[in-house]
């Protein structure tokens, strides 16, 4: 029963080594941090910022799927909704970057609360479809609301002074701001997964009925993890809007919801680091193959199919199996 369900237990209990695993994880986090600190000096900073934003988005999404057992097909609503709010705040109200991101995050949290409280009434496939439908409502709203600029989106979003003091307009300076947010976000998710709250989530994922009989308010936990996931997805979207100085309909379209599922699935949904790897791979693929037009879509579809048929643990999941350690 390793992978009978989407929410199945990935870890073979015999190989679990509770003392060393956190050390390993911290080591990987440290290596990632060192890599990302050095990266802008030999890789293109805008590309790296895109990877970071999508890594946070994928991790936030995966908190819900991999650890909450809930497949949302509407996470674009939070990602895109927050990017509109943050872009609008920075451009029209002159908000500083950190406040714009904070406001976008807050908006995503509220949206997550509204959608989540309705969506958790259904399970499994219904849950996926309900989130999809709500995301579609957010899409139509974004298309028509005057402040979003319709199809043009909100363009030429300024990068204001950080804390009102520091000039971080240049890509490389801005990169470190983005790194701080995204890395912080991912660490927070890691912390949540390993908190008592995260343990209850796992219990619910494994056996909802038993958790109810143990006295847990299952729906409250589900709603809480939904809101947290939506909020952090919002943080990613709000940051991305400032990176590209643009908030557009792409961010709220349902294909974005599909993309984040693909990132998590490709990297490994039962892993901490999988979504990061998945996001990096998909973003790189989109960048390098931009010249091939619709073949990008075909390739993405093919990766989906292959991942579902042959590769359900994802890349990092497979590596974790080799190492006999949860990653």
């Amino acid at each position: 029963m390793t992978d009978q369900t989407m929410s199945g237990a990935p870890v073979n209990e015999k190989t679990r080594q509770p003392l060393r695993v956190p050390v390993l994880h911290m080591g990987i986090f440290a290596a990632l941090l060192i890599f990302f600190l050095a990266a802008p000096f030999f890789l293109y900073p805008v590309f790296l910022m895109k990877v970071l934003c999508f890594a946070l988005f994928a991790c936030a999404f995966n908190l819900l799927l991999g650890y909450g057992g809930l497949l949302s097909f509407g996470h674009a609503a939070f990602f895109g909704g927050a990017s509109y709010i943050s872009a609008h705040a920075a451009k029209m109200w002159g908000f500083t970057p950190e406040l714009a991101v904070l406001l976008g995050t807050g908006a995503a949290a509220v949206l997550g609360l509204v959608i989540g409280s309705l969506a958790i009434r259904r399970q499994g496939i219904y849950f996926a479809m309900v989130t999809l439908a709500f995301a579609q409502m957010v899409f139509f709203f974004s298309l028509q609301a005057p402040f979003t600029g319709g199809e043009d989106g909100i363009q030429a979003v300024p990068r204001n002074l950080l804390f009102g003091l520091f000039d971080i307009r240049h890509d490389r300076a801005f990169y470190f701001f983005v790194l701080a947010i995204c890395f912080g976000g991912v660490l927070l998710i890691y912390r949540i997964i390993h908190s008592p709250f995260g343990q209850v989530l796992k219990a619910i994922r494994e056996n909802e009925q038993r958790s109810i009989s143990l006295g847990y308010q299952v729906n409250r936990y589900k709603l809480a993890v939904f809101v947290i996931s939506a909020t952090l997805a919002g943080t990613a979207g709000a940051t991305k809007a400032l990176v590209f100085q643009l908030a557009s309909l792409t961010d709220v379209h349902w294909t974005m919801s599909g993309e984040v599922v693909l990132m998590a699935l490709l990297g490994g949904i039962h892993t901490i680091f999988g979504p990061i790897a998945g996001a990096a791979l998909i973003v790189a693929m989109q960048n390098y193959f931009a010249g091939f037009g619709a073949w990008v879509t075909v390739l993405q579809g093919a990766i989906f199919v292959i991942a579902v048929l042959l590769f359900r643990e994802g890349i990092v999941g497979v590596i974790g199996k080799w190492l006999k350690k949860p990653l």
Binding site: D3, Q4, T5, M6, S7, L71, F73, L118, R121, R122, Q123, G124, I125, Y126, A128, M129, V130, L132, A133, F134, Q136, M137, F140, F141, Q144, W254, G258, V261, L265, G293, A294, W295, V296, T297, V298, Q300, G301, A302, I303, F304, V305, A307, V308, L309, R312
Partner: protein, 295 residues
């Protein structure tokens, strides 16, 4: 004549009739989804792409083989349905022992592949497909001009939908199908080949989508993206109807077409979201959907 909120009743009739025509497509597509879901427990995200394939294959038959619309009505569901059977055998059948969500993800990937391939091959401007000569022109109903083709779409859709309902609810084959949904092992023990039944059901559901595509080809632009956005509306229709019954899918499809028709008169800006709003309300009041069985 009295007027209702500033709209003459004649105009309202016209709009309701148009709503019914759209509802025909919703009904056929949600019916196909419901049939597939009923037996395979798979949400067929490829449904929109298969609807598009239906329209495209009709166009290909006409362009490359000179086969008319009427031939397409018969051949296309068979051809596209057969492609569905191949997909079911090669891929979907490997997922039955897993969480249903994997089926959703697989078919989502397939939809991306199919739409991408058609985009590469045919571009997106769309292909012209004319209304067959027998159905050109229209009838003046007094309150509106009804094109004969649209009338045909409603009739064809009603016949197909209720034919399917009859097949599943009232025949022996349908009884096997429903039994296999409830307890495949038991039905297998009676000597019925359940995997084949499942495969054929998928092919049938896909055939329904393709048939809707053929019906749509003369009135909507035949292009690779024609099913991409429609599928999400149909999903919402299915959520509102509830997955429990075939009749539910049919009635909800037609009903929501009517509601959308009304929205287009009274609040055109909101007509695209009205279905999603109804979905939210239904979920609040009756989480299993209007006709669904409570899980």
């Amino acid at each position: 004549m009295f007027e209702l909120l500033g709209i003459a009743p004649q105009a309202l009739f016209g709009q309701l009739l148009l709503g019914l025509i759209n509802g025909s497509f919703y009904a056929m597509l949600s019916l196909g989804l419901a049939v597939i879901f009923g037996l395979l427990n798979i949400i067929n995200f490829t449904h929109g792409a298969q609807y598009m394939m239906g329209a495209f294959v009709a166009w290909m038959l006409l362009t490359y083989f000179g086969l008319s619309y009427w031939w397409a009505l018969v051949l296309v569901p068979v051809i596209v349905g057969a492609s569905g059977i191949v997909i079911e055998r090669l891929m979907i059948s490997r997922l039955y022992h897993l969480d249903h969500l994997y089926g959703l993800l697989l078919t989502f990937g397939l939809a991306l592949i199919i739409q991408g391939l058609f985009r590469n091959q045919y571009g997106v401007s769309g292909m012209p497909y004319s209304i067959p000569p027998e159905l050109q022109g229209g009838t003046n109903l007094g309150f509106m001009f009804l094109p004969n083709y649209r009338a045909w779409v409603v009739v064809a859709s009603v016949v197909v939908c209720f034919g399917t309902w009859f097949l599943i609810e009232k025949t022996r084959l349908g009884a096997y199908l429903r039994a296999a949904t409830e307890n495949p092992t038991m039905v297998g023990a009676f000597g019925i080949n359940v995997p084949r039944l499942i495969t054929l059901t998928y092919g049938f559901g896909v055939g329904l989508a393709a048939l809707a595509g053929v019906l749509a080809a003369p009135i909507y632009s035949v292009n690779p993206n024609m099913g991409a956005d429609l599928i999400i509306i149909v999903f919402a229709v299915v959520v509102i109807g509830g997955m429990g019954s075939i009749m539910g899918a049919i009635l909800t499809g037609f009903g929501l077409g009517l509601v959308e028709g009304l929205a287009r008169v009274f609040y055109p800006e909101g007509s695209a979201v009205v279905i999603f709003v109804i979905m939210a309300i239904v979920l609040l009041i009756k989480p299993a959907g209007l006709f669904g069985r409570t899980a």
